[in-house]
Protein backbone atom coordinates (compact mmCIF):
# COMPACT_ATOMS: atom_id res chain seq x y z
CA UNK A 1 0.00 0.00 0.00
CA UNK A 2 1.40 3.32 -1.04
CA UNK A 3 1.40 6.25 1.32
CA UNK A 4 -0.34 9.48 0.37
CA UNK A 5 3.08 11.04 -0.09
CA UNK A 6 4.09 8.44 -2.66
CA UNK A 7 0.77 8.64 -4.45
CA UNK A 8 1.02 12.42 -4.73
CA UNK A 9 4.58 12.15 -5.97
CA UNK A 10 3.68 9.63 -8.67
CA UNK A 11 0.45 11.38 -9.62
CA UNK A 12 2.29 14.63 -10.19
CA UNK A 13 4.32 12.70 -12.77
CA UNK A 14 1.03 11.57 -14.33
CA UNK A 15 1.55 7.93 -13.36
CA UNK A 16 -1.54 6.08 -14.48
CA UNK A 17 -1.27 3.43 -11.76
CA UNK A 18 -0.95 5.97 -8.98
CA UNK A 19 -3.98 7.80 -10.30
CA UNK A 20 -5.99 4.62 -10.05
CA UNK A 21 -4.75 4.00 -6.53
CA UNK A 22 -5.72 7.54 -5.59
CA UNK A 23 -9.16 7.02 -7.06
CA UNK A 24 -9.68 3.73 -5.26
CA UNK A 25 -8.60 5.28 -2.00
CA UNK A 26 -10.68 8.45 -2.01
CA UNK A 27 -13.49 8.06 -4.51
CA UNK A 28 -16.00 6.87 -1.87
CA UNK A 29 -15.26 9.76 0.45
CA UNK A 30 -15.43 12.30 -2.37
CA UNK A 31 -18.64 10.84 -3.73
CA UNK A 32 -20.01 11.27 -0.20
CA UNK A 33 -19.15 14.95 -0.50
CA UNK A 34 -20.42 15.29 -4.06
CA UNK A 35 -23.71 13.60 -3.29
CA UNK A 36 -24.51 16.29 -0.76
CA UNK A 37 -24.29 18.88 -3.51
CA UNK A 38 -26.18 17.01 -6.21
CA UNK A 39 -29.79 16.27 -6.95
CA UNK A 40 -29.09 12.60 -7.54
CA UNK A 41 -26.31 10.08 -7.69
CA UNK A 42 -25.77 10.46 -11.41
CA UNK A 43 -25.06 14.16 -11.02
CA UNK A 44 -22.85 13.41 -8.02
CA UNK A 45 -20.83 11.01 -10.11
CA UNK A 46 -20.44 13.64 -12.81
CA UNK A 47 -19.07 16.02 -10.24
CA UNK A 48 -16.86 13.26 -8.89
CA UNK A 49 -15.28 12.65 -12.30
CA UNK A 50 -14.66 16.33 -12.85
CA UNK A 51 -13.16 16.57 -9.39
CA UNK A 52 -10.75 13.74 -10.05
CA UNK A 53 -9.71 15.25 -13.38
CA UNK A 54 -8.93 18.47 -11.55
CA UNK A 55 -7.07 16.59 -8.83
CA UNK A 56 -4.98 14.60 -11.32
CA UNK A 57 -4.03 17.57 -13.43
CA UNK A 58 -3.37 20.07 -10.68
CA UNK A 59 -1.93 17.83 -8.01
CA UNK A 60 1.30 19.79 -8.43
CA UNK A 61 -0.52 22.73 -6.87
CA UNK A 62 -0.97 20.80 -3.63
CA UNK A 63 1.80 22.27 -1.59
CA UNK A 64 1.80 19.61 1.09
CA UNK A 65 0.76 22.15 3.66
CA UNK A 66 -2.45 21.00 5.34
CA UNK A 67 -4.05 17.65 4.88
CA UNK A 68 -4.35 16.05 1.49
CA UNK A 69 -7.88 14.95 2.28
CA UNK A 70 -8.79 18.52 3.08
CA UNK A 71 -7.37 19.62 -0.25
CA UNK A 72 -9.21 17.06 -2.35
CA UNK A 73 -12.43 17.78 -0.45
CA UNK A 74 -12.00 21.43 -1.27
CA UNK A 75 -11.45 20.60 -4.94
CA UNK A 76 -14.63 18.52 -4.91
CA UNK A 77 -16.64 21.29 -3.23
CA UNK A 78 -15.34 23.87 -5.71
CA UNK A 79 -16.15 21.57 -8.59
CA UNK A 80 -19.65 21.18 -7.22
CA UNK A 81 -20.01 24.96 -7.11
CA UNK A 82 -18.72 25.26 -10.68
CA UNK A 83 -21.16 22.57 -11.67
CA UNK A 84 -23.98 24.44 -9.98
CA UNK A 85 -23.11 27.65 -11.81
CA UNK A 86 -22.78 25.86 -15.12
CA UNK A 87 -26.14 24.18 -14.78
CA UNK A 88 -27.87 27.20 -13.34
CA UNK A 89 -29.30 28.24 -16.65
CA UNK A 90 -30.58 24.77 -17.44
CA UNK A 91 -32.41 24.29 -14.19
CA UNK A 92 -35.91 25.41 -13.70
CA UNK A 93 -35.99 28.02 -11.08
CA UNK A 94 -37.87 26.23 -8.38
CA UNK A 95 -39.32 28.77 -6.06
CA UNK A 96 -40.81 27.03 -3.13
CA UNK A 97 -43.41 28.68 -1.01
CA UNK A 98 -41.94 31.04 1.55
CA UNK A 99 -41.00 29.18 4.63
CA UNK A 100 -41.25 31.14 7.81
CA UNK A 101 -37.73 31.12 9.06
CA UNK A 102 -38.84 31.19 12.64
CA UNK A 103 -37.25 28.53 14.75
CA UNK A 104 -40.35 26.56 15.48
CA UNK A 105 -40.97 22.90 15.92
CA UNK A 106 -38.26 20.44 16.64
CA UNK A 107 -34.89 21.99 17.31
CA UNK A 108 -33.02 18.94 18.42
CA UNK A 109 -32.57 15.60 16.84
CA UNK A 110 -31.43 12.20 17.87
CA UNK A 111 -28.22 11.51 16.08
CA UNK A 112 -28.88 7.91 15.23
CA UNK A 113 -32.53 8.25 14.46
CA UNK A 114 -31.88 9.09 10.80
CA UNK A 115 -29.64 7.11 8.54
CA UNK A 116 -27.15 8.92 6.32
CA UNK A 117 -29.05 7.69 3.26
CA UNK A 118 -32.13 9.47 4.55
CA UNK A 119 -30.18 12.64 5.20
CA UNK A 120 -28.74 12.49 1.67
CA UNK A 121 -32.22 12.10 0.30
CA UNK A 122 -33.40 15.14 2.24
CA UNK A 123 -30.49 17.15 0.86
CA UNK A 124 -31.02 15.93 -2.71
CA UNK A 125 -34.61 17.09 -2.61
CA UNK A 126 -33.73 20.61 -1.54
CA UNK A 127 -33.79 23.42 -4.07
CA UNK A 128 -30.24 23.59 -5.44
CA UNK A 129 -29.39 27.03 -4.09
CA UNK A 130 -30.51 26.04 -0.59
CA UNK A 131 -28.58 22.82 -0.80
CA UNK A 132 -25.35 24.55 -1.78
CA UNK A 133 -25.51 27.09 1.01
CA UNK A 134 -26.65 24.60 3.62
CA UNK A 135 -23.80 22.20 2.79
CA UNK A 136 -21.18 24.88 2.70
CA UNK A 137 -22.29 26.35 5.99
CA UNK A 138 -23.48 23.39 8.06
CA UNK A 139 -21.21 20.60 6.86
CA UNK A 140 -18.14 22.25 5.35
CA UNK A 141 -18.17 24.94 8.01
CA UNK A 142 -17.58 27.97 5.79
CA UNK A 143 -18.60 31.42 7.00
CA UNK A 144 -21.42 33.22 5.23
CA UNK A 145 -18.91 35.75 3.92
CA UNK A 146 -16.82 33.01 2.34
CA UNK A 147 -19.90 31.33 0.92
CA UNK A 148 -21.04 34.60 -0.61
CA UNK A 149 -17.66 34.91 -2.36
CA UNK A 150 -17.55 31.31 -3.52
CA UNK A 151 -21.10 31.32 -4.87
CA UNK A 152 -21.01 34.83 -6.19
CA UNK A 153 -24.08 35.80 -4.19
CA UNK A 154 -24.88 38.43 -1.61
CA UNK A 155 -23.95 37.67 1.99
CA UNK A 156 -27.57 38.23 3.04
CA UNK A 157 -28.75 35.85 0.36
CA UNK A 158 -26.46 33.23 1.82
CA UNK A 159 -27.88 33.85 5.29
CA UNK A 160 -31.50 33.79 4.26
CA UNK A 161 -31.02 30.75 2.04
CA UNK A 162 -29.41 28.94 4.92
CA UNK A 163 -32.25 29.69 7.30
CA UNK A 164 -34.84 28.75 4.69
CA UNK A 165 -32.95 25.56 3.92
CA UNK A 166 -32.97 24.73 7.62
CA UNK A 167 -36.72 25.27 7.77
CA UNK A 168 -37.32 23.02 4.79
CA UNK A 169 -35.04 20.31 6.15
CA UNK A 170 -36.64 20.44 9.55
CA UNK A 171 -40.03 20.08 7.96
CA UNK A 172 -38.90 17.11 5.91
CA UNK A 173 -37.18 15.44 8.85
CA UNK A 174 -40.26 15.84 11.00
CA UNK A 175 -42.44 14.17 8.40
CA UNK A 176 -39.88 11.46 7.95
CA UNK A 177 -39.65 11.00 11.72
CA UNK A 178 -43.37 10.58 12.07
CA UNK A 179 -43.34 8.07 9.25
CA UNK A 180 -40.51 6.17 10.81
CA UNK A 181 -41.95 6.07 14.30
CA UNK A 182 -45.31 4.89 13.02
CA UNK A 183 -43.40 2.25 11.11
CA UNK A 184 -41.42 1.20 14.18
CA UNK A 185 -44.60 1.18 16.25
CA UNK A 186 -45.98 -1.37 13.87
CA UNK A 187 -42.99 -3.53 14.50
Amino acid sequence: MMSDQQIIELCSRHDRKAQQVLYDKYSRLLLGVCLRYATDKAEAEDILQDSFLKIFFSIKDFKGSGSFIGWIRKVAVNTAITHYHKNLKYRYHIEIEEYESIETGVTSFEEDFYTSDELYKVLNELPTGYRMVFNLYAVEGYKHKEIAEMMGIDINTSKSQYSRAKAVIRDKLEKLGKLKSSYSDLI
Binding site: H14, R16, Q19, Q20, Y23, D24, S27, R28, L29, L31, G32, L35, R36, K41, A44, E45, L48, Q49, F52, L53, F56, F57, T107, S108, F109, E110, E111, D112, Y114, S116, L119, Y120, L123, F134, Y137, A138, V139, G141, K166, I169, R170, L173, S184
Partner: protein, 444 residues
Protein backbone atom coordinates in the same frame (compact mmCIF):
# COMPACT_ATOMS: atom_id res chain seq x y z
CA UNK B 1 -34.78 1.23 20.06
CA UNK B 2 -34.43 4.64 21.60
CA UNK B 3 -31.61 3.76 23.90
CA UNK B 4 -29.04 6.18 22.55
CA UNK B 5 -30.68 9.49 23.12
CA UNK B 6 -28.17 12.13 22.21
CA UNK B 7 -29.88 15.31 21.21
CA UNK B 8 -28.09 17.57 18.77
CA UNK B 9 -29.15 20.41 16.53
CA UNK B 10 -29.71 20.27 12.80
CA UNK B 11 -26.30 21.55 11.84
CA UNK B 12 -24.53 19.03 14.03
CA UNK B 13 -26.75 16.27 12.75
CA UNK B 14 -25.67 16.82 9.18
CA UNK B 15 -22.03 17.56 9.82
CA UNK B 16 -21.57 14.59 12.08
CA UNK B 17 -23.46 12.17 9.92
CA UNK B 18 -22.35 13.32 6.52
CA UNK B 19 -19.01 15.08 6.75
CA UNK B 20 -17.06 11.86 6.37
CA UNK B 21 -19.79 9.74 4.91
CA UNK B 22 -18.65 7.46 2.13
CA UNK B 23 -20.70 6.45 -0.88
CA UNK B 24 -19.64 3.72 -3.23
CA UNK B 25 -19.41 5.03 -6.77
CA UNK B 26 -20.58 2.99 -9.71
CA UNK B 27 -17.92 0.71 -11.17
CA UNK B 28 -18.30 2.30 -14.60
CA UNK B 29 -17.24 5.66 -13.18
CA UNK B 30 -13.66 4.60 -12.78
CA UNK B 31 -13.18 3.35 -16.32
CA UNK B 32 -14.98 6.39 -17.66
CA UNK B 33 -12.75 8.65 -15.61
CA UNK B 34 -9.56 6.92 -16.69
CA UNK B 35 -10.64 7.26 -20.30
CA UNK B 36 -11.14 10.97 -19.80
CA UNK B 37 -7.77 11.20 -18.07
CA UNK B 38 -6.14 9.46 -21.02
CA UNK B 39 -7.80 11.83 -23.46
CA UNK B 40 -6.78 14.88 -21.46
CA UNK B 41 -3.30 13.46 -21.07
CA UNK B 42 -3.11 13.14 -24.84
CA UNK B 43 -4.06 16.77 -25.29
CA UNK B 44 -1.43 17.87 -22.78
CA UNK B 45 1.96 18.70 -24.17
CA UNK B 46 4.36 16.08 -22.98
CA UNK B 47 7.84 15.89 -24.43
CA UNK B 48 8.15 12.27 -23.39
CA UNK B 49 5.19 10.99 -25.31
CA UNK B 50 3.73 11.15 -28.79
CA UNK B 51 0.64 13.30 -28.53
CA UNK B 52 -1.52 15.66 -30.52
CA UNK B 53 1.12 18.39 -30.63
CA UNK B 54 3.59 16.08 -32.26
CA UNK B 55 1.02 14.81 -34.73
CA UNK B 56 0.01 18.39 -35.51
CA UNK B 57 3.64 19.37 -35.91
CA UNK B 58 4.32 16.48 -38.25
CA UNK B 59 1.24 17.34 -40.30
CA UNK B 60 2.23 21.01 -40.61
CA UNK B 61 5.80 20.09 -41.49
CA UNK B 62 4.55 17.65 -44.12
CA UNK B 63 2.20 20.16 -45.69
CA UNK B 64 4.87 22.88 -45.69
CA UNK B 65 7.34 20.56 -47.37
CA UNK B 66 4.78 19.57 -49.96
CA UNK B 67 3.93 23.20 -50.70
CA UNK B 68 7.59 24.17 -50.89
CA UNK B 69 8.38 21.31 -53.24
CA UNK B 70 5.42 22.17 -55.41
CA UNK B 71 6.32 25.85 -55.68
CA UNK B 72 9.97 25.00 -56.26
CA UNK B 73 9.07 22.78 -59.19
CA UNK B 74 6.89 25.57 -60.56
CA UNK B 75 9.75 28.05 -60.23
CA UNK B 76 12.20 25.84 -62.07
CA UNK B 77 9.65 25.37 -64.81
CA UNK B 78 9.62 29.10 -65.32
CA UNK B 79 13.36 29.35 -65.56
CA UNK B 80 13.45 27.24 -68.68
CA UNK B 81 12.17 29.32 -71.53
CA UNK B 82 10.26 27.14 -73.92
CA UNK B 83 10.39 29.48 -76.88
CA UNK B 84 11.05 32.97 -78.09
CA UNK B 85 7.66 34.14 -76.86
CA UNK B 86 8.67 33.84 -73.27
CA UNK B 87 9.68 36.72 -71.11
CA UNK B 88 12.83 37.81 -72.77
CA UNK B 89 11.88 41.34 -72.24
CA UNK B 90 11.46 43.49 -69.20
CA UNK B 91 10.59 47.08 -68.60
CA UNK B 92 10.71 49.06 -65.45
CA UNK B 93 9.33 52.40 -64.41
CA UNK B 94 12.49 54.31 -65.29
CA UNK B 95 11.87 53.63 -68.94
CA UNK B 96 14.87 51.42 -69.27
CA UNK B 97 14.29 48.68 -71.71
CA UNK B 98 16.30 45.60 -71.26
CA UNK B 99 16.51 43.52 -74.33
CA UNK B 100 17.87 40.06 -74.28
CA UNK B 101 18.90 39.08 -77.72
CA UNK B 102 19.32 35.41 -78.00
CA UNK B 103 21.70 34.63 -80.80
CA UNK B 104 21.09 31.47 -82.61
CA UNK B 105 24.04 29.22 -83.34
CA UNK B 106 24.68 29.65 -87.00
CA UNK B 107 25.63 27.03 -89.43
CA UNK B 108 28.22 29.13 -91.30
CA UNK B 109 31.15 29.02 -88.90
CA UNK B 110 33.43 31.68 -90.36
CA UNK B 111 31.06 34.56 -90.49
CA UNK B 112 29.86 34.90 -86.97
CA UNK B 113 32.67 33.95 -84.68
CA UNK B 114 32.21 36.70 -82.13
CA UNK B 115 28.58 35.86 -81.78
CA UNK B 116 29.03 32.23 -81.18
CA UNK B 117 31.03 32.87 -78.08
CA UNK B 118 28.22 34.74 -76.44
CA UNK B 119 24.93 33.18 -77.12
CA UNK B 120 23.14 35.50 -74.70
CA UNK B 121 23.54 39.24 -74.66
CA UNK B 122 21.94 41.87 -72.46
CA UNK B 123 21.43 45.25 -74.00
CA UNK B 124 20.11 48.21 -72.07
CA UNK B 125 18.53 51.08 -73.90
CA UNK B 126 17.22 54.28 -72.42
CA UNK B 127 14.19 55.64 -74.15
CA UNK B 128 12.65 58.93 -73.07
CA UNK B 129 8.99 57.95 -72.85
CA UNK B 130 7.61 61.37 -73.75
CA UNK B 131 9.11 61.28 -77.17
CA UNK B 132 8.23 57.77 -77.99
CA UNK B 133 4.54 58.04 -78.37
CA UNK B 134 4.13 60.71 -81.05
CA UNK B 135 7.09 59.55 -83.01
CA UNK B 136 6.02 55.99 -83.09
CA UNK B 137 2.80 56.94 -84.70
CA UNK B 138 4.52 58.67 -87.57
CA UNK B 139 6.22 55.56 -88.78
CA UNK B 140 3.63 53.98 -90.92
CA UNK B 141 5.43 52.43 -93.82
CA UNK B 142 9.00 51.39 -93.55
CA UNK B 143 11.01 50.77 -96.63
CA UNK B 144 11.16 47.13 -97.20
CA UNK B 145 14.42 45.34 -97.28
CA UNK B 146 16.03 47.57 -94.70
CA UNK B 147 15.92 47.47 -90.95
CA UNK B 148 13.90 50.30 -89.66
CA UNK B 149 13.00 51.33 -86.15
CA UNK B 150 10.77 54.03 -84.89
CA UNK B 151 13.05 57.07 -84.59
CA UNK B 152 12.74 57.19 -80.85
CA UNK B 153 14.15 53.77 -80.56
CA UNK B 154 16.46 53.75 -83.47
CA UNK B 155 18.58 56.73 -82.46
CA UNK B 156 19.74 55.59 -79.09
CA UNK B 157 20.35 52.19 -80.48
CA UNK B 158 22.62 53.32 -83.22
CA UNK B 159 24.32 55.85 -80.98
CA UNK B 160 25.21 53.26 -78.48
CA UNK B 161 25.97 50.78 -81.13
CA UNK B 162 24.50 48.07 -79.05
CA UNK B 163 22.90 46.21 -81.84
CA UNK B 164 25.98 46.23 -84.00
CA UNK B 165 26.98 42.70 -83.33
CA UNK B 166 23.66 41.19 -83.77
CA UNK B 167 22.09 43.06 -86.63
CA UNK B 168 24.63 45.19 -88.37
CA UNK B 169 25.41 42.56 -90.90
CA UNK B 170 22.37 42.84 -93.08
CA UNK B 171 23.14 39.79 -95.05
CA UNK B 172 22.84 37.61 -92.01
CA UNK B 173 19.42 38.89 -91.30
CA UNK B 174 17.65 37.93 -94.44
CA UNK B 175 15.10 36.20 -92.36
CA UNK B 176 15.30 38.89 -89.72
CA UNK B 177 13.16 41.92 -89.02
CA UNK B 178 12.23 44.29 -91.70
CA UNK B 179 10.41 46.72 -89.56
CA UNK B 180 9.17 47.05 -86.06
CA UNK B 181 6.50 49.52 -85.30
CA UNK B 182 3.13 49.71 -83.74
CA UNK B 183 0.77 52.52 -83.88
CA UNK B 184 -1.34 54.11 -81.31
CA UNK B 185 -2.90 57.33 -82.46
CA UNK B 186 -1.97 60.00 -79.93
CA UNK B 187 -5.53 61.11 -79.40
CA UNK B 188 -6.69 57.66 -78.36
CA UNK B 189 -3.77 56.88 -76.14
CA UNK B 190 -5.25 59.20 -73.54
CA UNK B 191 -8.68 58.44 -72.21
CA UNK B 192 -11.00 57.85 -69.33
CA UNK B 193 -11.14 54.64 -67.35
CA UNK B 194 -12.26 52.11 -68.38
CA UNK B 195 -10.36 52.80 -71.60
CA UNK B 196 -10.71 50.38 -74.46
CA UNK B 197 -8.00 50.56 -77.08
CA UNK B 198 -7.14 48.59 -80.17
CA UNK B 199 -3.44 48.25 -80.98
CA UNK B 200 -2.08 47.67 -84.43
CA UNK B 201 1.12 45.87 -85.08
CA UNK B 202 2.53 47.37 -88.26
CA UNK B 203 5.74 45.44 -88.15
CA UNK B 204 6.67 43.36 -91.13
CA UNK B 205 8.68 40.22 -91.57
CA UNK B 206 8.42 38.77 -88.13
CA UNK B 207 7.28 35.42 -86.91
CA UNK B 208 5.63 36.11 -83.60
CA UNK B 209 4.83 39.07 -81.45
CA UNK B 210 4.02 39.79 -77.87
CA UNK B 211 2.29 42.78 -76.39
CA UNK B 212 2.68 43.69 -72.75
CA UNK B 213 0.28 46.33 -71.59
CA UNK B 214 1.95 47.55 -68.45
CA UNK B 215 -0.88 46.47 -66.18
CA UNK B 216 0.23 42.87 -65.91
CA UNK B 217 -1.63 41.78 -69.01
CA UNK B 218 -0.15 40.54 -72.26
CA UNK B 219 -1.29 39.26 -75.62
CA UNK B 220 0.22 37.37 -78.51
CA UNK B 221 -2.36 38.56 -81.02
CA UNK B 222 -1.31 40.75 -83.88
CA UNK B 223 -3.87 43.51 -83.29
CA UNK B 224 -5.12 43.06 -79.78
CA UNK B 225 -7.86 44.98 -78.06
CA UNK B 226 -7.23 45.92 -74.46
CA UNK B 227 -9.26 47.57 -71.73
CA UNK B 228 -7.51 49.58 -69.05
CA UNK B 229 -9.76 49.54 -66.00
CA UNK B 230 -7.71 51.58 -63.59
CA UNK B 231 -6.36 55.09 -63.95
CA UNK B 232 -2.64 55.50 -64.46
CA UNK B 233 0.14 55.65 -67.04
CA UNK B 234 0.81 52.39 -68.78
CA UNK B 235 3.82 51.54 -70.81
CA UNK B 236 2.74 49.37 -73.69
CA UNK B 237 5.50 47.31 -75.23
CA UNK B 238 5.44 45.38 -78.46
CA UNK B 239 8.10 42.78 -79.02
CA UNK B 240 8.50 40.96 -82.27
CA UNK B 241 10.52 37.82 -82.70
CA UNK B 242 11.87 36.08 -85.73
CA UNK B 243 12.52 32.44 -86.20
CA UNK B 244 16.13 32.82 -85.16
CA UNK B 245 15.06 34.08 -81.76
CA UNK B 246 16.05 37.68 -82.39
CA UNK B 247 13.71 40.28 -80.99
CA UNK B 248 13.02 43.95 -81.28
CA UNK B 249 10.62 46.15 -79.46
CA UNK B 250 8.76 49.39 -79.45
CA UNK B 251 6.88 51.18 -76.71
CA UNK B 252 4.15 53.69 -76.25
CA UNK B 253 2.57 55.26 -73.20
CA UNK B 254 -1.13 55.12 -72.59
CA UNK B 255 -2.56 57.52 -70.06
CA UNK B 256 -5.81 56.56 -68.39
CA UNK B 257 -7.60 59.26 -66.44
CA UNK B 258 -10.04 58.49 -63.65
CA UNK B 259 -13.68 58.75 -64.51
CA UNK B 260 -15.73 61.10 -62.36
CA UNK B 261 -18.78 59.81 -60.62
CA UNK B 262 -22.10 61.60 -60.72
CA UNK B 263 -24.18 61.31 -57.62
CA UNK B 264 -26.84 63.49 -56.08
CA UNK B 265 -29.79 63.53 -53.73
CA UNK B 266 -33.04 65.40 -53.89
CA UNK B 267 -34.39 67.16 -50.84
CA UNK B 268 -36.97 67.35 -49.35
CA UNK B 269 -37.41 63.62 -49.72
CA UNK B 270 -41.16 63.79 -50.20
CA UNK B 271 -41.43 67.07 -51.96
CA UNK B 272 -44.82 68.46 -52.86
CA UNK B 273 -44.96 69.88 -56.34
CA UNK B 274 -45.23 72.59 -57.34
CA UNK B 275 -45.11 74.25 -53.92
CA UNK B 276 -41.77 73.13 -52.55
CA UNK B 277 -38.44 74.52 -53.55
CA UNK B 278 -36.36 71.50 -54.44
CA UNK B 279 -32.70 71.38 -53.46
CA UNK B 280 -30.24 69.11 -55.21
CA UNK B 281 -27.37 67.89 -53.09
CA UNK B 282 -24.29 67.11 -55.10
CA UNK B 283 -22.14 64.17 -54.02
CA UNK B 284 -20.22 63.77 -57.30
CA UNK B 285 -16.53 62.98 -57.20
CA UNK B 286 -13.60 63.85 -59.47
CA UNK B 287 -15.72 66.36 -61.36
CA UNK B 288 -15.22 70.05 -62.17
CA UNK B 289 -18.19 70.81 -64.42
CA UNK B 290 -21.83 70.05 -63.78
CA UNK B 291 -24.83 70.08 -66.00
CA UNK B 292 -28.25 69.63 -64.45
CA UNK B 293 -31.44 68.93 -66.31
CA UNK B 294 -34.48 69.20 -64.10
CA UNK B 295 -36.74 67.47 -66.57
CA UNK B 296 -39.01 70.42 -67.19
CA UNK B 297 -36.80 71.94 -69.87
CA UNK B 298 -34.74 73.98 -67.44
CA UNK B 299 -31.03 73.33 -66.94
CA UNK B 300 -28.40 74.61 -64.60
CA UNK B 301 -24.59 74.66 -64.39
CA UNK B 302 -24.47 75.27 -60.64
CA UNK B 303 -22.82 72.85 -58.29
CA UNK B 304 -25.88 72.51 -56.05
CA UNK B 305 -28.86 74.22 -57.66
CA UNK B 306 -32.33 74.77 -56.29
CA UNK B 307 -35.38 74.62 -58.45
CA UNK B 308 -39.10 75.23 -58.17
CA UNK B 309 -41.39 73.47 -60.58
CA UNK B 310 -44.35 75.31 -61.98
CA UNK B 311 -46.74 72.41 -62.09
CA UNK B 312 -47.17 68.94 -60.77
CA UNK B 313 -45.88 66.25 -63.08
CA UNK B 314 -43.41 63.42 -63.24
CA UNK B 315 -39.93 64.67 -63.89
CA UNK B 316 -36.66 62.92 -64.65
CA UNK B 317 -33.71 64.72 -63.12
CA UNK B 318 -30.35 64.34 -64.84
CA UNK B 319 -26.86 65.29 -63.77
CA UNK B 320 -23.85 65.10 -66.04
CA UNK B 321 -20.44 65.71 -64.56
CA UNK B 322 -17.17 66.34 -66.38
CA UNK B 323 -13.68 65.96 -64.96
CA UNK B 324 -10.57 68.04 -65.56
CA UNK B 325 -9.54 65.67 -68.34
CA UNK B 326 -12.93 65.73 -70.02
CA UNK B 327 -14.10 62.42 -68.64
CA UNK B 328 -17.78 62.39 -67.95
CA UNK B 329 -20.41 60.49 -66.04
CA UNK B 330 -24.10 60.98 -65.63
CA UNK B 331 -26.91 59.98 -63.33
CA UNK B 332 -30.62 60.08 -64.04
CA UNK B 333 -33.29 59.81 -61.39
CA UNK B 334 -36.40 58.76 -63.23
CA UNK B 335 -39.71 59.97 -61.90
CA UNK B 336 -37.91 61.84 -59.17
CA UNK B 337 -40.99 63.05 -57.33
CA UNK B 338 -43.12 59.94 -57.39
CA UNK B 339 -42.56 59.58 -53.65
CA UNK B 340 -44.47 62.78 -53.02
CA UNK B 341 -47.57 62.14 -51.00
CA UNK B 342 -50.84 63.93 -50.78
CA UNK B 343 -52.71 63.35 -47.60
CA UNK B 344 -54.94 64.90 -44.99
CA UNK B 345 -55.29 63.56 -41.46
CA UNK B 346 -57.06 64.79 -38.35
CA UNK B 347 -56.29 64.14 -34.68
CA UNK B 348 -58.88 62.45 -32.48
CA UNK B 349 -58.60 64.80 -29.50
CA UNK B 350 -57.68 68.34 -28.58
CA UNK B 351 -57.69 70.58 -25.50
CA UNK B 352 -59.14 74.06 -26.14
CA UNK B 353 -57.68 77.04 -24.38
CA UNK B 354 -59.90 77.59 -21.31
CA UNK B 355 -59.03 81.29 -21.06
CA UNK B 356 -60.89 82.23 -24.20
CA UNK B 357 -61.13 81.62 -27.96
CA UNK B 358 -57.83 81.64 -29.80
CA UNK B 359 -59.37 82.36 -33.16
CA UNK B 360 -58.39 79.04 -34.70
CA UNK B 361 -55.40 80.15 -36.76
CA UNK B 362 -52.51 77.86 -36.15
CA UNK B 363 -49.12 76.90 -37.33
CA UNK B 364 -47.38 73.67 -36.59
CA UNK B 365 -45.08 75.45 -34.17
CA UNK B 366 -47.65 77.53 -32.34
CA UNK B 367 -50.01 74.67 -31.60
CA UNK B 368 -47.81 72.37 -29.58
CA UNK B 369 -50.45 72.31 -26.83
CA UNK B 370 -53.06 71.00 -29.32
CA UNK B 371 -55.44 73.85 -28.53
CA UNK B 372 -56.81 73.95 -32.08
CA UNK B 373 -58.43 71.10 -33.99
CA UNK B 374 -56.75 71.08 -37.40
CA UNK B 375 -55.42 68.59 -39.94
CA UNK B 376 -51.90 67.68 -40.91
CA UNK B 377 -51.87 67.65 -44.69
CA UNK B 378 -49.87 67.82 -47.87
CA UNK B 379 -50.84 68.97 -51.34
CA UNK B 380 -54.36 70.09 -50.49
CA UNK B 381 -55.95 72.76 -52.71
CA UNK B 382 -59.69 72.72 -51.96
CA UNK B 383 -60.80 72.25 -48.39
CA UNK B 384 -64.09 72.36 -46.53
CA UNK B 385 -64.29 71.28 -42.89
CA UNK B 386 -67.50 70.97 -40.88
CA UNK B 387 -67.88 70.03 -37.24
CA UNK B 388 -71.14 68.82 -35.75
CA UNK B 389 -72.32 68.31 -32.20
CA UNK B 390 -73.87 64.99 -31.18
CA UNK B 391 -77.26 66.47 -31.99
CA UNK B 392 -76.19 67.11 -35.57
CA UNK B 393 -75.93 70.88 -35.29
CA UNK B 394 -73.11 72.45 -37.28
CA UNK B 395 -70.98 74.30 -34.77
CA UNK B 396 -67.93 75.09 -36.91
CA UNK B 397 -67.13 75.45 -40.57
CA UNK B 398 -63.97 76.44 -42.42
CA UNK B 399 -62.81 76.59 -46.01
CA UNK B 400 -59.38 77.90 -45.03
CA UNK B 401 -57.05 75.05 -44.21
CA UNK B 402 -55.05 77.39 -42.02
CA UNK B 403 -58.09 78.05 -39.86
CA UNK B 404 -58.89 75.26 -37.43
CA UNK B 405 -61.49 74.97 -34.66
CA UNK B 406 -60.52 76.44 -31.31
CA UNK B 407 -63.29 74.63 -29.40
CA UNK B 408 -65.51 77.69 -29.06
CA UNK B 409 -68.96 78.23 -30.53
CA UNK B 410 -70.31 81.78 -30.60
CA UNK B 411 -67.73 82.81 -28.00
CA UNK B 412 -68.69 80.02 -25.63
CA UNK B 413 -66.42 77.08 -24.83
CA UNK B 414 -68.15 73.91 -25.99
CA UNK B 415 -68.86 71.07 -23.61
CA UNK B 416 -66.16 68.41 -23.33
CA UNK B 417 -67.16 65.34 -25.28
CA UNK B 418 -67.21 63.80 -28.70
CA UNK B 419 -67.82 65.85 -31.86
CA UNK B 420 -68.14 64.72 -35.45
CA UNK B 421 -66.06 66.21 -38.24
CA UNK B 422 -66.40 65.94 -41.97
CA UNK B 423 -64.02 67.26 -44.56
CA UNK B 424 -64.17 67.36 -48.30
CA UNK B 425 -61.77 68.85 -50.86
CA UNK B 426 -59.26 68.19 -53.58
CA UNK B 427 -55.60 67.37 -53.73
CA UNK B 428 -53.29 69.24 -56.05
CA UNK B 429 -53.31 66.43 -58.59
CA UNK B 430 -57.06 66.84 -58.90
CA UNK B 431 -58.01 63.84 -56.82
CA UNK B 432 -60.98 64.59 -54.53
CA UNK B 433 -61.19 63.46 -50.93
CA UNK B 434 -64.01 63.08 -48.39
CA UNK B 435 -63.24 62.03 -44.85
CA UNK B 436 -65.16 61.97 -41.61
CA UNK B 437 -64.54 60.99 -38.04
CA UNK B 438 -64.91 62.05 -34.45
CA UNK B 439 -62.84 64.17 -32.15
CA UNK B 440 -62.92 64.34 -28.37
CA UNK B 441 -62.86 67.77 -26.83
CA UNK B 442 -60.92 67.47 -23.60
CA UNK B 443 -61.14 69.75 -20.64
CA UNK B 444 -58.00 71.63 -19.82
Amino acid sequence: MKTKKQNINLRELFSQKLEYAEVMPDASIKSNLMRRVARKEFMRFNPARLNIYYIGGILIAGITTAVLLFSASKATGRLNPSGPNDNLFKTDTNSYIEIQVKQPVRKEPGKSKPIRNESMRNISVFIPPAKVNPEVSKVKDSPKGSISFPPGINNPLSKNGLFVESIADKKKLQSGFKSVAFLIDPHVSVGCAPLKLRFHNKSTSYDSCRWTFGDGGYSNEKDPEWIFDVEGDYKVVLQVFNRNGESLSSTAVVTVHPRPQAHFEITPEKAVLPNDEIHFLNYSTNAVKFKWDFGDGITSDFYEPSHTYTKFSNYDVRLMVISDWGCSDSLVVLNAFSGSEYFIDFPNAFIPNAQGPTGGYYSLKSDEAAQVFHPSYSGVTDYHLKIFSKLGITIFESTDINLGWDGYNKGQLCEPGVYIWKVRGKYRNGEPFIKMGDVTLLKN
